[in-house]
């Protein structure tokens, strides 16, 4: 009998995947490698922002007031710290919701898992709403990606962060819809875990951006 020679762990009995050499989940290893890679992605963006800090000959500027010599118009420091502090808080809370969603899935508590997944996505979307508000008000005040170096590097850095949040929200909504349709089983907690790792990473990037871009003058 041919199959007799095959070690038991090769046959994928009952839909189970063969164990990995480290015992760790493949997707989780991949997401950590991805996060490592993202460190360099954001390091490049942040470096550029910092290198270009204070180099634009024309305003508006992030913190300092600038008077346009041509029109005489006075631009105040454009960053809105109170609003951004609130959105930072929102993103931090989304991370709390995220860990609660994960632990609910692990426990098999379908009611809370749905609530917390939805809450995480909602808080993420709220953060994006704040960002959309911030971007549009900057444009109204006269700062676009074309205006000056600060505009280019600010919008691209925070824009890429926002794009990551958007991807995360879509991911969360996908998990939520699966959870609503057929329920995420505790076996599938790993899928939520992987999404959570991504989500928290996006959060820590924001922690860095908030300090480096918004608070340091």
């Amino acid at each position: 009998m041919a199959t007799a020679a095959i070690d038991t762990h090769d046959a994928h009995a009952g839909g189970e995947h063969p164990p990995t050499s480290t015992g760790l989940n493949n997707t989780k290893v991949a997401i950590w490698a991805f996060i490592g890679s993202e460190c360099f992605f954001f390091a490049s963006l942040i470096s550029t922002y910092l290198i270009y800090r204070g180099r634009s000959p024309v305003g508006p500027f992030p913190h300092d007031t600038w008077k346009d010599p041509a029109t005489g118009h006075v631009f105040k420091g454009i960053l809105n710290i109170p609003i951004t502090s609130v959105s930072t808080f929102v993103l931090l809370m989304s991370s709390l919701a995220m860990v609660l969603a994960h632990s609910a899935v692990v426990r098999g508590d379908r009611k809370s898992s749905k609530i917390w997944l939805a809450a995480t996505a909602f808080l993420g979307a709220t953060f994006l709403g704040f960002q959309a508000y911030e971007f549009t008000s900057f444009v109204h005040e006269g700062l676009t990606i074309h205006t000056n170096l600060f505009g280019s590097s600010f919008f691209v850095l925070t824009g890429f962060h926002g794009a990551h949040v958007t991807a995360g929200v879509i991911w969360l909504l996908t998990l939520l819809s699966i959870d609503m349709k057929r329920g995420l089983t505790p076996d599938e907690a790993i899928n939520v875990d992987v999404c959570a790792l991504y989500w928290h990473f996006v959060d820590v990037v924001w922690i860095a951006i908030f300090t480096l871009v918004y608070l340091i003058k």
Partner: protein, 649 residues
């Protein structure tokens, strides 16, 4: 050598679906060996294209004041030659080996994410075609392979040329990144029982290190290219000097990527020759752990030397000194490798097969390139050499003499595993000598040209500067390389049908890939082997070779029974006669092995993603971009929500 048996019949399959035969079976494949071959043939094709570009360059420079091509075309030629050879030849040819070999060497049935693997290939294919389609629009990139901004910003390079370059590299980067995560996970998680890290074949080790370089260096160029793309298409100011931008920003970001990139280009070749040399010396690799550690050290230090490409930019004494020192330091682990290869050959019973000759070629020629590298690690001496033909000589010794020689060694060595037949050694010998002599004839005189002041990237030069004879020699050498390549191509295609049948282990190899049939069945290993040392096959067939290699000896006794599915020709201790009978090549289905379902979803996703970029270059054509993006997202969902393997009943 087991070359007498007939070629194994293709595994018995019952094609029940169009994806299991013909063209569809390639379009829908998720088999790492097939994807490896797709990479292989695609990159060999680009090798010919890049070679033709080089040949035209050499024809142009043969005589002073020549007007074979215009200066404008010349710019396109050297830019596309460099970009092609780096991103479309050496990297994907290395990827062909990653794909084909990593799972075989670590004893796995496939990579960790087979469909992502297919996706990587299709994105790569798309990127290569995209980049080269520029030729047909008479708008091939013309800013040099490193595309210095602000030269490459819209005001200075208004045409489509640089658009093709920026977007093409961006697409190729996606492919490399996806493959990087995949191989890292594969190597961490898919090793056969007993395949500890310090038993892993050295090629897999170097491949592992390379993947980290890829996933950490490519994000940097992604960002730099994104800035350039935004500047060109959306009017941002990243490289606008009037807006206060720093002209060195691009250079720093590019070389932060660029120097790790050169190790991405060389480490896989190092890995290949580290497989070839022990086998043809009949000795274990000298200092295996040191080889591993020096590879890791090279990769880490490789992130701290980038500004040695910028000594001429005037960074100041502190920066110059710092990068000069780190560059000199990095030569140490590199030198260690060279001595270890010599130590491997020392006292061995050498067999000068073509693969071995190419491997020795790497050791000799890379060393020359390494030495000239150390020469320009000193800023005062670099100021004489930079932007001259001396640099061209340096990087061709490391890239052609190093990477390409190593990859050729790998091709001769693994051709039998890939195709089931051996390449012809006589033709291989011609190939090697023509290439080696031609290579030295082309690039050695360039050292003198450089020291005599000939700048790089000039489309013609005046007579009477003492550059004629060395340029003659270089062009003759190029002709020899072309001739050698013709031998190679002829050898390749005739051997596919007429080459000697290889058997499982034509060279007396030491690692797992030589245990299974050539070409391997789609599941690779009927039984996943249990590994007890670095050289499982030598333990079994020539234990005297591995007495000094660490094993755990109790396990070794069980080896014969545990080690594998197929007869290896000489010794065999089959645990099941039917399974291991010489000509039985049972299909995965017969063995009850579940393999991933073939699927074209990665192909669709890759092409949709590529089409988004096509829309971008067509003056930001929103309908195309949005439709393609929607198809991409849809196919991604479709792919991710479909299980990898057939549903279990």
């Amino acid at each position: 050598m087991a070359t007498t048996v007939s070629l194994p019949e293709t595994p018995h399959r019952e094609p029940t679906h169009k994806y299991e035969s013909g063209v569809w079976s390639w379009l829908a494949t998720t088999d790492h060996k097939r994807i490896g071959q797709l990479y292989l043939y695609t990159s060999l094709f680009w090798f010919i294209v890049g070679g033709i570009e080089a040949a035209i360059i050499r024809a142009q420079l043969y005589n002073p004041n020549s007007h074979l091509v215009t200066a404008q075309t010349y710019n396109e030629l050297f830019t596309m030659h460099g970009t092609t050879m780096i991103f479309l030849v050496i990297m994907p040819l290395s990827a062909a080996f990653f794909n084909f070999l990593i799972p075989l060497q670590i004893g796995a049935r496939d990579v960790a994410f087979p469909r992502l693997n297919a996706f990587s290939y299709w994105v790569f294919l798309f990127g290569g075609l995209f980049l080269n389609s520029s030729w047909f629009l008479h708008a091939a990139p013309n800013g040099g392979w490193f595309g210095y901004a602000p030269l490459t910003t819209r005001p200075f390079s208004p045409g489509l040329n640089i658009d093709f370059w920026v977007i093409g590299l961006q697409i190729l980067g996606i492919s490399s990144l996806a493959a990087g995560f995949n191989f890292i996970t594969t190597i961490i998680n898919m090793r056969a029982p007993g395949m500890h890290f310090m038993r892993m074949p050295i090629f897999s080790w170097m491949a592992f290190v390379t993947q980290f370089l890829i996933i950490l260096a490519f994000p940097i160029i992604t960002v730099a290219l994104t800035f350039l793309m935004l500047d060109r298409f959306f009017g941002t100011n990243f490289y606008e000097i009037q807006a206060g931008a720093d002209p060195l920003l691009w250079q720093h970001l590019f070389w932060l990527f660029g120097h790790p990139e050169v190790y991405i280009l060389i480490l896989p070749a190092f890995g290949l020759v580290s497989e070839v040399l022990p086998v043809f010396s009949r000795k274990p690799l000298f200092g295996y752990p040191v080889m591993v550690y020096s590879g890791i050290l090279i990769a880490t230090l490789g992130f701290g030397v980038w500004a040695h490409h910028m000594f001429a930019a005037g960074m100041g004494p502190i920066a110059d000194a710092f990068f000069s020192i780190t560059t000199m330091l990095i030569a140490i682990p590199t030198g260690v490798k060279i001595f270890n290869w010599l130590g491997t050959m020392w006292g061995g019973s050498l067999r000068f097969t073509t693969a071995m000759k190419f491997a020795i070629g790497l050791v000799a020629l890379f060393t020359i390139g390494g030495i000239s590298g150390v020469m320009h690690s000193s800023p005062p001496s670099d100021l004489q050499q930079t932007d001259s033909y001396f640099i061209v000589a340096h990087f061709h010794y490391v890239l052609f003499g190093g990477s390409m020689m190593g990859l050729f060694a790998g091709l001769y060595f693994y051709y039998p595993k890939i195709t089931g037949r051996l390449l012809n050694e006589k033709l291989g010998n011609w190939h090697f000598w023509l290439t080696a002599i031609g290579m030295n004839l082309t690039f050695f005189p360039m050292h003198f040209l450089g020291l005599d002041g000939m700048p790089r990237r000039i489309s013609s030069y005046d007579a009477g500067q003492g550059w004629e004879s060395n340029n003659h020699l270089a062009s003759y050498g190029a002709a020899l390389i072309v001739l050698g390549t013709i031998f190679f191509a002829y050898n390749w295609f005739t051997s596919l049908r007429r080459g000697a049948v290889a058997g499982n282990d034509p060279w007396g190899g030491a690692t797992l890939e030589w245990m299974i049939p050539s070409p391997p069945p789609d599941y690779n290993f009927a039984t996943i082997p249990k590994v007890t040392s670095r050289y499982p096959l030598w333990d079994r067939k020539s234990p005297e070779l591995t007495v000094n290699v660490p094993h755990d000896s109790q396990d070794e006794q069980k080896m014969d029974v545990k080690i594998g599915g197929q007869s290896t020709g000489t010794a065999s201790a089959p645990s099941d006669t039917k399974l291991n009978a010489p000509h039985a090549h049972p299909s995965a289905r017969q063995l009850g092995i579940m393999m991933p379902t073939p699927t074209t979803k990665p192909l669709i996703a890759a092409f949709a993603l590529g089409t988004v970029f096509v829309g971008l270059i067509m003056h930001k054509n929103l309908p195309i971009m949005l439709t393609a993006a929607a198809i991409f997202v849809f196919s991604l969902y479709n792919w991710l929500l479909t299980p990898l393997e057939p549903e279990h009943h």
